[in-house]
Symmetry: C2
């Protein structure tokens, strides 16, 4: 079973990505070039990623006292990925990129996430280099970003600290000017950093010649004090090994030391580290302090980072989606081949009849269709968001601004919804396998463990809920929410014309009205404490409504095609979502609308 | 934080277990003897179980070619458990038991499940021996059961086979009479068994002198054919090592061989095996075939097994509950001690204020209260069912019969509900910990992995749903459901008198009416295919309704006490359940009532 027909349908029949060729940036592209990229990535994922997914789970990164040891398969996979050109797929031709639409890039990367989500950390390197292409100097781009795009260097993002996980305003890593003339370093104003960074993925390894850390830190004021809050945060490039202005290693190690590897429940192919910056283990010119080069303006570090946030969060949502998809395909395959039991028919069971394959049991079908509905729906959502990224970058002014605002509202859903529901899909994939699914002889338990990370990193579920209800639906006088409502209404107006879809269109209209009313009710007192106590149930209801819309829109595209099993399947998955899932929003919105304080008001001693 | 206050409240203030002293069997007991048992078990669990829970996860059972090697901690824990007398706690004084009520036995065992669910397999040994005390001959009881109660031998249940997981009618293990005079063996009619058994917990180890397998197999008819279906199944005692009529090992190994260890996602402290019976690896008297002694009548094997099923399923529900509870306590402790971020107040955030402990964040409180509501509610349900077991065994005829029938209806819920929702609690416990919860430095990810088993073993979720909607709510003309409705109505009639509880009583009444209407609608066509396509959503809605009832009944007991943080907490958890959880039943029941065939009717090619 291949992902490809689903991807092709969504990209072409549904999103019509070929129309992007009308944009100057993508003018050289065609269905053929898009297909070639997908073909290549599908092949590399099949050959270099999927076969080693269990291996990287069992052979965790090990620190031998000097180096972090990873399986050879990880080296091979990353090499193949770099050679494919995917690290710079979206970049300009002139820096060696393909000027590929983000929608196609994200689609191509889906194969790797499905094959082995943790073997590669290309997303981090690309994100790191993209940030430098946006905010770095020419020298920073040439020396760091371009070497990341080529696969010579890799990149990290160093935000969290042990005492301040999600609370970036509490960052206490300090950056002090590095001596006289620090401002005139050709690689950017030069500082010395001291502090500890936690949860740094790909923070130490031997996969590449060098590791380029992007580090959030604070520059103390004239009294040596750190500015409280996020306003004091600046962004620095801190290479593991020092480089000259040609990007060659000087032979000197920077003062960045591995303080520990995190041993995780899943996602074990990716090294995750605690790093010490500037503790003096590797003094530079005889002095403790990690050398770092300022990116952009002092105090504007978080803005540079947040610029990458939407794509990073879509990336997490896509990873969650593809883990769910991998489990769906595995359990579908199992269900088609495993004989067991007999269906309960009107005449009861005939024990002398041969056993049937478990896909013939209604409850197994329910678990499969739920997975299909969650994962193919989530994939559609991620691709829709990716298409908005392309619109934001290449559309006309109005379309670009609409895309920007829609992305603001949809990103918390694109990140959170697959993290929750494609994890549930993974649990159903285990359940379809029965006892076998609970063993490590089958891949599904690993997908489930790997996927559990996605509700945590890149902003927890709680943070996504606060972001959505506390910021996104309010921003610019609610214009983002109105834009989304406009898109939803456009879909349901088309659907209501089609008898087979009309009832679903009505259900979606009611759901949208309920979400709108709950949004108002949540903020009726104007007190964030009242509104945000139930931000997560709001996020869940909002997410289910968005997915119902996505499914109805996908169903419109499917409905327009000739009869086929795939068409029947897509319409079935849409019906599943409307019958079994959308009605859940009532329970979630009830506490939002009531501004229910049952949880928030319970005194600590009562737990 | 201790489980004890919650247990004491439920046992005494809520269930009034001391009243069991009025039963002749329990006349010697008192609050003091009950407390002494709980004290002992709490201490052993604290000293011998909990400290080694991570160890048994990392040091999985290993087969060295001859023996299965387990950590010393497992040997020590099982020894301490056996010495506590808990293996025979419920047995008669005359066979060395304590004549302890099952309610107290189950409560005491809860400490071990919470400390380390997989280190011990006492439940299997007790269940095995209990079955023999019910269905075995005097000699079988003396030779096998009593040695299991003492901890000298341990026991297994061998039902599943590789080609027939949950489908017991497809068992093909054969039992043939073992030569002339086979019927007159003092240990029971003697057969030779040949076949393979899968998923056998504690199927091979060196923890005890001997392992007593209870094995389902079929005796061929005069033509050598196996009777199809469950009617042909008989039950056999198959010891790993042969014993004489005094229970002494004869020195001869029986023909039972380890074919493989299953490597699981969690629950790794318990060996799980594929066993080959009678393949000739250990011939007995020169002949292949595992020697087995018939228990009860030929063809009645499954009935003997099912006799133990309710208690086994309550045991699984309790294990799921206590894993949830362990995660709740761990995450509550973490939330009380981890500083991070600042609460969102009416005045926004003040970044210069010190960070607060995360229990001060509304969403963390929500995740903690959800866990409390799931786990303490599930514990109450399990204890309620345990109390019904005592009633069935020691109540007057009418009360005993009512208890039997109520247990028939409630057992699928007691097994399935905690398996699903205390697993969700474990996921929330991870979420409260953030990234730390995803590492193996904290215990919560293991609880989550361990708990994933419980929706699978002892009858999957799907099987529980079919059992409930396909059998239990229909049996004896729906009398079980009527009895349950009577109990629920009795609770809500009391609650409706109390202003603080009246609205919840009304909500429960409506939920009960919805479940009743959905039950009728599901069966309106009389076609099991129509009704059972949505048996799992029915199970979920039924379970939530039962839990709402349990919580309202618990709240009545809490409400009657003086103000205290614990009282506030229990009433808060009840309110959480009514506000956040009970409304979910609408979505589940909608597809049941509509006899929705979206899943069942989707053709295979459309997936």
């Amino acid at each position: 079973m291949s992902l490809r027909p689903t991807l092709d349908f969504l990209l072409h029949q549904w999103l019509g990505v070929e129309s992007l060729r009308s944009r100057e940036r993508f003018a050289d592209h065609s269905r053929e070039t898009f297909d070639a990229v997908l073909d290549t990535c599908e092949r590399i994922a099949r050959e270099k990623y999927a076969p080693f997914n269990r291996l990287v789970d069992t052979q965790e990164p090990q620190f031998d006292g000097e180096k972090v040891i990873l399986p050879q398969a990880t080296h091979d996979a990353q090499k193949a990925y770099a050679e494919s050109g995917m690290l710079s797929a979206a970049q300009d031709y002139e820096v060696g990129g393909m000027q590929l639409p983000y929608t196609v890039e994200a689609s191509a990367n889906a194969f790797f996430a499905m094959g082995s989500v943790s073997i590669g950390s290309g997303m981090l390197t690309t994100g790191n280099a993209n940030l430098l292409m946006k905010h770095g100097t020419e020298a920073q781009q040439r020396v760091f970003a371009l070497n990341e795009f080529s696969g010579r260097f890799s990149g990290t993002m160093c935000l969290s600290e042990p005492q301040a996980g999600s609370s970036l305003s509490d960052v206490i890593t300090r950056a002090l000017p590095d001596g006289d003339g620090f401002e005139n370093d050709p690689l950017g104003p030069r500082y010395r950093l001291r502090g500890n960074k936690m949860w740094i993925s790909a923070g130490e390894h031997e996969l590449t010649e060098n590791i380029i850390h992007l580090v959030l830190a604070k520059i103390p004021d004239e009294n040596g004090k750190l500015v409280p809050g996020v306003k004091g945060i600046s962004l620095f490039i801190v290479p593991k090994k020092l480089v000259d202005t040609d990007g060659q290693l000087t032979g000197e190690r920077n003062d960045v030391a591995l303080a520990g590897l995190n041993h995780k429940c899943g996602w074990r192919g990716t090294t995750n580290t605690l790093l010490n910056f500037g503790e003096g283990k590797y003094p530079v010119r005889g002095e403790a302090g990690a050398v770092g080069y300022l990116v952009g303006q002092p105090g504007k570090g978080l803005q540079c980072m947040f610029h990458m946030m939407n794509e990073a969060r879509i990336g997490v949502g896509m990873a969650a989606t593809m883990l769910g998809m991998a489990g769906y395909h595995a359990s579908l395959d199992y269900a088609k081949n495993r004989p067991q039991g007999r269906p309960m028919g009107a005449g009861g069971k005939d024990a002398s009849a041969p056993q049937v394959r478990i896909i013939e049991h209604a409850d197994v079908k329910r678990m499969l269709l739920a997975q299909k509905s969650y994962c193919e729906g989530a994939l559609a959502l991620e691709l829709y968001c990716a298409r908005l990224v392309d619109e934001q970058h290449t559309g006309d002014a109005q379309a670009a601004d609409d895309a920007r605002l829609l992305l603001e509202v949809l990103t918390p859903i694109a990140k959170s919804w697959p993290s929750e529901w494609c994890l549930e899909a993974n649990s159903l994939a285990i359940q379809v396998h029965g006892g076998y699914g609970y063993t490590r002889d089958f891949p599904v338990e690993q997908y489930w463990r790997d996927n559990r990370l996605n509700m945590i990193h890149e902003g927890t579920h709680g943070i996504q809920g606060m972001d959505l209800l506390g910021r996104k639906v309010l921003m610019e006088n609610g214009k983002g929410l109105q834009l989304l409502a406009g898109r939803i209404n456009a879909t349901l107006e088309r659907a209501i014309q089609i008898p087979e879809l009309a009832a679903h269109a009505n259900a979606l209209g009611q759901a949208l009205a309920q979400v709108g009313a709950a949004t108002k009710a949540a903020w009726a007192t104007g007190d964030p404490g009242d509104a945000l106590a139930n931000a997560v149930p709001y996020l869940q209801a909002f997410g289910h409504t968005v997915l119902a819309w996505i499914w109805l829109d996908v169903a419109l595209a499917a409905h327009a095609l000739a009869e086929s099993p795939a068409r029947t399947g897509r319409l079935g998955a849409m019906r599943y979502f409307f019958h079994y899932e959308l009605p859940k929003i009532g329970a979630w919105l009830q506490v939002v609308s009531a501004r229910d304080q049952t949880c928030a008001s319970l005194p600590e001693a009562a737990f």
